[in-house]
């Protein structure tokens, strides 16, 4: 019973802490509401679509495929990304390029974003620096699964 009373004191302390948060944050919110700008904000939340946080330079966002100078994909379809991909979201089909210095190019390159876990291994594995995850696109939600399947055209854009 005595132990329980100590527990009750802690309960009160706990609610005081939440109450303090409420009061302090509410105070700043109210100031804001009346147009008084203070340095402190009432919330740490960022209003995402309107306010965008600058992405870190190494942030991994939507993949893209790079092109050569002649606008062909840089990818030589070595399938190392396919090999290394832990979620098996990449599928590549190779074809023979008439240029003997290129030889191999991807006739199909599919990234299934509904499977992708954005680990970036494909970027690390690529020997040609043909795939990067630096588009900065992070709003990838789509309404159908098919829209999440990115093919060569979409990735080269």
């Amino acid at each position: 019973m005595i132990r329980s009373l100590g527990y009750f004191w802690e309960l009160i302390k706990g609610s005081l802490i939440t109450a303090r948060h409420f009061v302090v944050n509410m105070w700043f919110h109210t100031l804001k509401l009346f147009g008084i700008k203070t340095k402190r904000r009432g919330a740490v939340t960022i209003q995402y679509p309107e306010q965008k946080k600058a992405l870190a330079s190494r942030h991994r966002s939507l993949q893209r495929l790079l092109k050569r100078q002649d606008l062909k994909p840089r990818c030589v379809s070595c399938m190392l990304c396919v090999t290394v991909c832990p979620s098996e979201c990449i599928y590549v089909e190779a074809a023979e390029d008439p240029d003997p210095d290129i030889q191999k190019y991807p006739s199909t390159f599919i990234i299934d974003l509904s499977r992708c876990c954005f680990c970036g291994f494909c970027v690390e594995a690529c020997p040609e620096d043909a795939i990067r995850m630096d588009t900065g696109k992070i709003d990838l939600a789509q309404s159908t699964r098919q829209d999440l399947i990115y093919d060569l055209d979409k990735l080269l854009k």
């Binding site: 030589v76 070595c78 399938m79 098996e88 074809a95 023979e96 003997p100 030889q103 191999k104 299934d112």
Partner: protein
Amino acid sequence: MESAGMKIVIDDRPVEVEEGTTILQAAKQAGLHIPHLCFHPAFVPEGSCRICLVEIEGLPKLELACATAVRDGMKISTQSPRVREARRGVLEFLMADHPLDCPICDKAGECKLQDYYQEYGLFEGAFKEAKEKRDKIIKIAEKLILDRERCILCTRCVRFLSEITKTQELGVFRRGIHSEISTYEDAPVQNNYSGNLVDLCPVGAITDTEFRFKTRTWFLAQSESICPLCSRGCNIYVDYHPGFTRIPGTAKIYRIRARENLEVNGRWICDFGRYGFPSLEKDRGDKILWKKEGRDTIMSWEKILSLLAEKLRPRHRTKNTSNIAVVANTWMTNEELFLFKKIFKDDLGLKKIFFADPRPGSGDGFLLQAERTPNARAAKEMGLELNPVNLDDLSKNTDVLIIFGPFLADLHDPSSLKNDLDKIRTKVLVSSHRSGLESYVDFILPASGILEKTGSLTNRDGLVQKFSAVCPPCGDSRPEWSVLIELAKELRINAGYYSRLTQPEVILKEMGKEIAFFR
């Protein structure tokens, strides 16, 4: 023993080998691998790659392991710093003249140069000069492409063509750094063994249009199997891709390679076998169908087998089996032929047993045999007579016909087949492939392809070779042995006997008990 054996020490491992053994072979006996590129056990050593150098105690220079015969009391070091340094040096030279286009090279993953670089190299390239530019896509045969930049001039291909096939289509031309492999005045490599050049090439210089750019070697699961395309029974590796989960149709066989078996095929297989595998995967039947009143009904195995058993059982009970006919083939494994014989010949006592095999082709005098079926010998050994199908005999007074295999369609023209088969009331087809027979029969039972089942085959020389499944069965298909066992169970003949035969190995053991040949 003293006279025959030569006692040598390789890397502190004492080995006793026969006289005339090379250091490389001796090391293999000792369980050591000495790297080699130009050496191939089937050819006379060339000694040109210089990567198999080893240090022999008492000799000032490093010696070739591939060409130096051991002498009694030799002390050989394959891993001394001097040797490693020399190998590194050779590798560095090879790399300097190699395009290092591993990402697009089909050999990557099973390339000797990559392996040895991992083992001995791992250096930063010191080669700062311009690499030699050479032709990269040269069609040297119908299915072979030569990349001269990747070529390390081991001349295995040249030696294969001069020592094994003796056709000598390839040679080394020009000299020094400009040396290159070429055909003579654009006369392509044209023999039935050209595919072996791909296996032989230690790097990716010779690639195969059938495999080129299709996949990467590390995706493939290598299974040991037996080539079913002729009665030679060549040992093969089947490289199977288990497929990408989300992309249909990616699970398939990508290539066939020769597997060493000196008793049967040496180290080679013919191109007929090597490039014949697409036909094994094409036109597969994968659904159990009952053409009930002209409409296809998809069935389950249990239902269709009990339906069939109902048709056969009364005849078996009344010993009235003269109006049942069966057509088998010798693409069936030993186990299947045995079960076939047990059930239809011994238990049911059928008289009308026919065989429909693929038409014989022509042999090439080396490996390929005219007999294009893998197991005819086994049928003979079992006492089955390989009666060819006579449509008149087949259809005369026949009520139930069971056909195994699709080959009947190739042997007879469709109109006569239709005429004769229409006389029979119940026609059952157990086949792995679609052949056109489907339209004449009522019951279609899909059988597994030969690479999808486990069992054994007997080649023309009477060698029984076991093999196991390369890939899962296609669709609803089942191996014939399992169909036969289930059918026997449904017929309730010898129930205890057949329920014991659960696996091909068990069947083979049972065969051994009954037929001395398979012991």
